[in-house]
């Protein structure tokens, strides 16, 4: 069942990075993905299992100099209970509100959801439209150093990220959106709870009257990784939201996604759902 020869639980980021430098480490945070994936063989546990739960630097949500920093170990429930997230990062809050179930929200971490890099990962679409950066820490040169990578460059494919084996995702940083900024997330599945999204839609923009500026659109579960949709963004940029603009944007979105057919839905169905749900999200923004 398990070939773990060493279990470690460091108490500082420095110690965790040092252990990672030695190599052959599987990182454990909430465990809600790692446990089932290691049981069904999708993930092969490496000889050293490292629980990072005790690393205090990885916890907490803070605000400084116009940025929000979310520690990698922040649970989905903690995000959902955060007033800052609910009021200023609405799309992320909506994703956390509809994330799996209470039990899983209480254990699962945002860092884990990012590193699992599921094409349908719930927090990834909001992080894309909020232009988040992931912070990676390592001691590859002997001293603790971090680098920031835009989330769009970090996600490479199903289960694949730009994280080097010696790196640990320590946090997420994003610019606190200005007032009059709206963001929205919607996911569709066969039941609200515990379902992997058939498709998901994210939208963020600065709103001036009925027009949207700095528009960002992203979709989940329609490509090997959650993707931004530049054609849909261009179709909306600077324009007043009316039925014609919404229809053009929805058609653009449908043309730039690459869904597959799998056990959960056909590619045709996913295209239809993206067009219809994106239309609904835009109409909702227009009408509120």
């Amino acid at each position: 069942m398990s070939g773990i020869s060493n279990y470690v639980a460091p108490r500082s980021l420095d110690e965790a990075a040092e252990l990672l430098r030695a190599g052959n480490v599987t990182l454990l945070a909430g465990g809600t993905d790692l446990m089932p994936q290691s049981r069904n063989g999708r993930t092969q546990l490496r000889p050293t299992l490292m629980s990072i739960r005790r690393v205090a630097e990885l916890r907490g949500i803070s605000e400084a100099a116009g940025n929000v920093r979310i520690g990698a170990l922040t649970t989905i429930s903690e995000l959902r209970d955060s007033v800052l997230v609910r009021e200023r990062l609405q799309a992320l809050w909506q994703a956390c509100d509809r994330f799996a179930s209470d039990q899983i929200r209480n254990a699962a971490t945002i860092g884990g959801n990012i590193c699992n890099a599921s094409p349908a990962g719930d927090t990834l679409v909001p992080l894309l439209v909020l232009d988040a950066q992931v912070e990676l820490a390592s001691k590859s040169n002997g001293t603790l150093a971090t680098r920031a990578v835009p989330i769009a460059d970090f996600l490479l494919g199903p289960g694949q990220t730009a994280r080097a084996a010696t790196e640990i995702l320590s946090g997420i940083v994003l610019a606190l959106p200005p007032r009059h900024f709206i963001s929205s997330f919607f996911k569709f599945g066969t039941r609200p709870a515990l379902d992997i999204s058939l498709i998901s839609v994210g939208l963020a923009a600065r709103r001036a009257g009925n027009a949207l500026h700095d528009v960002r659109v992203a979709f989940g579960a329609v490509a090997p990784r959650p993707i931004r949709a530049p054609a849909a963004e261009a179709a909306l940029e600077g324009k007043a939201l009316d039925d014609g603009v919404i229809a053009v944007a929805a058609a653009a979105a449908e043309a730039e996604i690459h869904p597959i057919s799998d056990v959960r839905a056909s590619d045709w169905y996913r295209r239809e759902m993206v067009r219809n749900m994106f239309t609904r999200v835009l109409a909702h923004v227009r009408d509120r």
Binding site: M1, S2, G3, I4, S5, N6, Y7, A9, L28, G30, G31, T32, M35, P36, S38, R39, L45, L49, S51, R53, S77, A100, S101, D102, Q103, I104, N106, A107, P192, A193, L194
Partner: protein, 162 residues
């Protein structure tokens, strides 16, 4: 060969020490090492909630938690809950409302219910439905379960025992 880990934690108010394989789940540890079989094994992947326990005051699926990660923490299982005042309120309410048929999901749902009562996240039916969205019951259709938790919410509020 699989490494073992020595862990210490509080389990239902009792200091507990156990040596577990590094890959073991908390559910396996409870049922197979500590003979606490009230916590149920069903889906094994976090879909059904039958294995729900409380860790440091929040509910989790014990099938998804590595036992090694229990080190230093405070665990409550159904065995500890039923010995508490809140557990008694819930037990009586579930019995009175006929919320138990086969009973397999009941320990997990009662653990999730105590979390709702403790957190006071609201006793409206819609809140309770959301609160137990991670618990499957294939017998009751949920109505009597929601009735029971709603009633327990009121009782617990009155007694201020939650």
């Amino acid at each position: 060969m699989s490494a073992t880990v020595d862990i210490r934690f509080r389990l239902n108010g009792v200091d507990t020490e156990v040596t577990v394989p590094a890959g073991m789940s908390t559910l396996e540890m409870l049922r197979e090492r500590l003979d606490l079989t009230g916590t149920k094994y069903a889906c094994g992947e976090g879909e059904c909630g039958a294995c729900t326990i409380s860790v440091d005051g929040v509910t989790v699926n014990s099938c998804l938690m590595f036992a090694a990660d229990c080190d230093g923490r405070e665990l409550l299982t159904i065995e500890g809950l039923v010995a508490s005042p809140v557990g008694e309120v819930l037990r009586a309410s579930f019995a009175r409302n006929g919320a138990v048929q086969c009973g397999f999901c009941t320990p997990g749902i009662m653990m999730q219910a105590q979390h709702v009562l403790r957190k006071h996240k609201g006793c409206e039916r819609a809140d309770l439905q959301r609160a137990i969205e991670g618990n499957l019951c294939r017998c009751t259709g949920y109505v009597k379960i929601i009735d029971s938790i709603a009633e327990a919410c009121v009782t617990a509020d009155t007694e201020q025992g939650a």
